[in-house]
Amino acid sequence: MRLVGHAVQAERRLRPSKALAAAALLLLVAVAGCGSNDGGATADDNGRPDTVVDISGTDPVGPKVAGSVAALVTCSDWKGADENQRLATIDDIRKQLAPQDSGIKIPELTDDEAEEAFDNACKIESSDGFRLYKLYAQAVGFVTLKRAIEADDGK
């Protein structure tokens, strides 16, 4: 699935959920069992087709302040959004959290990674008020983990 919208075209990558779950499990095993490295972390698209989604013209969900919803959009907004709105929301947050200098690279979540992070966090009891941009900033840590594991698996 590919996101095409606004000025940005971002590749929507294979969904990492099971890969990450497997990786996390692997880590647990490794920690408990001194570094076993079997049970590979394979990518899985969760059955969703690898398609292109055009979100140009789709507004993100949540209250817009000074051109962006990133500061205020919450789990409550997320739960009520359709797929295109979610992608537009992720796009908005990702842009806001990107560094403001050229030449500086900060990890970014793909659409699937961000969706999964928001979906899971928003399941916690009384999470309706969680600000998505804060969750995004946290989840960036996990994407680094995932990629490190995948790179290690590839060796």
Binding site: P63, S68, K95, Y136
Partner: protein, 655 residues
């Protein structure tokens, strides 16, 4: 794989501590030298407050503008009378203050004189008429600023024409936006410097100094805004609505409405909030704010950015949905004698503090110093009492942290947007961290929790170097008294602006560059300070505590918790005492060692020079951490063995 486990755990440990990212224009640390284009010079030091008395005697520079309500003098006299008869608490944890006859007479005289000089009903109008060195005195009353409330959010005069387009394609309001449409988001806004040229087309990686081309002259430097009441609650700056009793300073926006019903897409439809920020000051060098309460913002109570020289004294932050106080890229910054509750993130947030520590740019900061000080505050009843990202060389001293989910957290996760990576040189001393057991994730919590935090934690340090945690009292926090975890560069991301090439972590060339050289000493763990007396705010919002005044001890779940990150060096815990006043009763993970003042593998290091993490210790802590943090990415929230961090833990044994 073992290497990856290390990385993974540090990443995991870091994740819930993220205090915040920051959504704002590219920010710079202001020039720390005084601006001598105004007299007296602005900035270069923490400003000194001018006395209330001098506002009526005419002593000192600048004009005085008085703001009042029709009933202000009556309110002032009633408050003075009450202070004389019953007294008042400046902070809930402090003893009552009773006015002497002389003090009461003086305050009556001052307020009567101010009432005669009053020419403004609106604080914003008084600000707009003010210039350098001027003063605004606000007499008792509740100030809702009707004209500001009517100013539209996303005002078409500024939006989108004054939005900055960042490199990523994101939009952020420029300085000119805030100066031109000042009540778009803010109930009251102070523009400190004139709008000059355009911002740089691309932000400068070196964040020392606001770019000359966009730095205008002082137009409201050395401004002082203060309340003339007995106590901060007498002058209420209010961005909220829907109160049951709006004149009650502790009243909650929206009354009894569930917290989730406050947030609406359109601001005008919110039953709880009218504005996003109560008082914002931008590039206001030499600003003093004193003796008032900021309540009911959809985001922040007080917000300052790119300011050199600012003092907030005797201020309160009630029911501000995100942060009570937020300072960003601000220097010579002091907040003191404050009190706050009801924040979905933190009561105070000094973010992106300047790099004035050991590895500073000595051309820009000749002297090593603390650039931000938070002191003598009650920070309670919130997700966190204090949070901060990239809080370099900040000092937190003589405060009370209680009744939060987590008393104090700093992190280095949000490097993007926060200049100053890696954070270093923080000093936390002579504070009390107690009864931080508030379950903010329960259905009926009166404010929306905006972030996930481990409930029951006194102090959580995630990614700080060369820190000092000393002479604190830490007790009755049912999960952990203190917690230290490492943060690898990879998690923090590439930092905003240039990174300091030096760091206290000798392993910075590999995975870790944070959480080295932190020292914990002289702390009292699990002991109740002599003379401690419980008070009602301790149990605010249903917070759980064992502190009923009957016991001299109140254990933490564990006093010191360290992730034992293998590569970290120089972290040490020494000369601390447990519940019986000796080293023997300190509880820790890893455990306290067999020999005093030594660093023995597998035990809590006490000798700083030989302290190292432990591969086995680090690995052994992984399952618990991974369960908690893994939930976010593994769709495992409802797993039977799920993370328990979102509930108040059981009372520790011995409590």
């Amino acid at each position: 794989m073992v290497r990856l486990v290390g990385t993974a755990l540090a990443i995991a440990a870091l994740a819930t501590t993220a205090a915040s990212a920051h959504l704002e224009r590219p920010s710079y640390w202001p020039d720390p030298t005084a601006d001598t284009s105004v007299s007296p010079p602005a900035g270069g030091a923490v400003p000194k407050a001018r006395s209330l008395k001098s506002a009526v005697t005419g002593k000192g520079p600048g004009d005085v503008r008085v703001v009042c309500k029709r009933t202000s003098l009556d309110l002032a006299l009633a408050s003075i009378r009450q202070a004389r008869r019953q007294g008042f608490h400046l902070r809930p944890s402090q003893p009552v203050t009773v006015y002497s006859k002389k003090k009461a007479r003086k305050m009556r005289r001052i307020n009567k004189a101010l009432a005669e000089d009053c020419e403004y009903r609106s604080i914003q109008a008084a600000v707009d008429d003010s210039g350098n060195n001027d003063r605004i005195v606000i007499m008792p009353g509740r100030y809702t600023e009707p004209k500001s409330r009517k100013a539209p959010l996303n005002d078409p005069r500024c939006n989108p024409s004054m939005l900055l387009q960042t490199q990523s394609g994101a939009q952020a309001p420029s300085y000119e936006y805030q100066a031109t449409c000042q009540n778009d988001q803010n109930l009251i806004h102070v523009t400190g410097r004139a709008v000059a040229g355009d911002p740089l087309p691309e932000p400068r990686p070196d964040r020392h100094g606001i770019p000359e081309q966009e730095l205008g002259e002082c137009i409201r430097c050395n401004l002082q805004i203060e309340g003339s009441g007995v106590k901060p609650e007498d002058v209420l700056l209010d961005a909220g609505k829907g109160y049951e009793n709006p004149k009650d300073p502790t009243a909650r926006p929206g009354g009894d409405l569930p917290a989730a019903e406050c947030a609406t897409d359109a601001d005008e439809e919110s039953p709880c909030w009218a504005k996003h920020v109560v008082l914002r000051t931008d590039r206001t060098d030499g600003f003093v704010g004193r003796n008032f309460l900021m309540r009911g913002a959809r985001e922040h109570g007080f917000y300052t950015e790119e300011t050199d020289g600012i003092l907030l004294d005797r201020v309160k932050f009630f029911w501000n949905a995100d942060y009570g106080h937020l300072s960003f890229t601000t220097d010579h910054n002091v907040v003191q004698n404050c009190d706050g509750f009801g924040s979905g993130d933190a009561v105070v947030y000094p973010g992106a503090a300047p790099q004035t520590g050991e590895f500073r740019d000595e051309n820009f900061y000749p002297e090593q110093r603390y650039n931000t000080v938070i002191r003598r505050c009650d920070l309670h009843g919130s997700a966190m009492g204090y949070s901060g990202s990239m809080g370099n060389s900040t000092r937190v001293t003589h405060n009370r942290f209680y009744g939060n989910a987590n008393g104090l957290t700093t992190d280095t996760l949000s490097a993007g947007g926060h200049p100053g990576f890696p954070a270093d040189g923080m000093k936390i001393d002579h504070n009390w961290f107690y009864a931080n057991n508030l379950d903010i994730y329960r259905e009926d919590n009166p404010f929306d929790a905006l972030v996930p935090q481990p409930v029951g934690t006194g102090f959580f340090w995630a990614g700080n170097n060369d820190g000092n945690f000393s002479n604190n009292w830490v007790f009755d926090n049912w999960r952990q008294g203190t917690m230290l975890v490492a943060v690898p560069d990879a998690v923090a991301g590439s930092p905003e602006g240039e990174t300091d090439p030096q760091t206290q972590c000798p392993t910075s060339s590999s995975t870790y560059s944070t959480s080295c050289g932190n020292q914990y000493f002289g702390n009292h763990m699990g002991q109740v300070p002599p003379g401690f007396r419980p008070y009602p705010e301790l149990e605010m919002f249903g917070n759980q505590t064992t502190l009923d005044g009957s016991s001299e001890t109140a254990p933490n779940g564990v006093d010191f918790w360290w992730d034992e990150a293998t590569a970290n060096t120089g972290n040490c815990w020494y000369d601390n005492e447990g519940s019986d006043g000796t080293r023997d009763t300190v509880t820790a993970s890893p455990p306290v060692g067999p020999a005093e003042n030594e660093s023995v593998p597998g035990f809590l290091p006490e000798k700083c020079a030989t302290s190292m993490g432990s591969a086995s210790g680090y690995s052994s802590k992984s399952p618990g951490l991974l369960v908690c943090f893994g939930l976010w990415e593994t769709d495992n929230v409802d797993a039977p063995a799920g993370c328990d961090w979102w509930d108040t833990p059981s009372k520790p044994n011995g409590g």
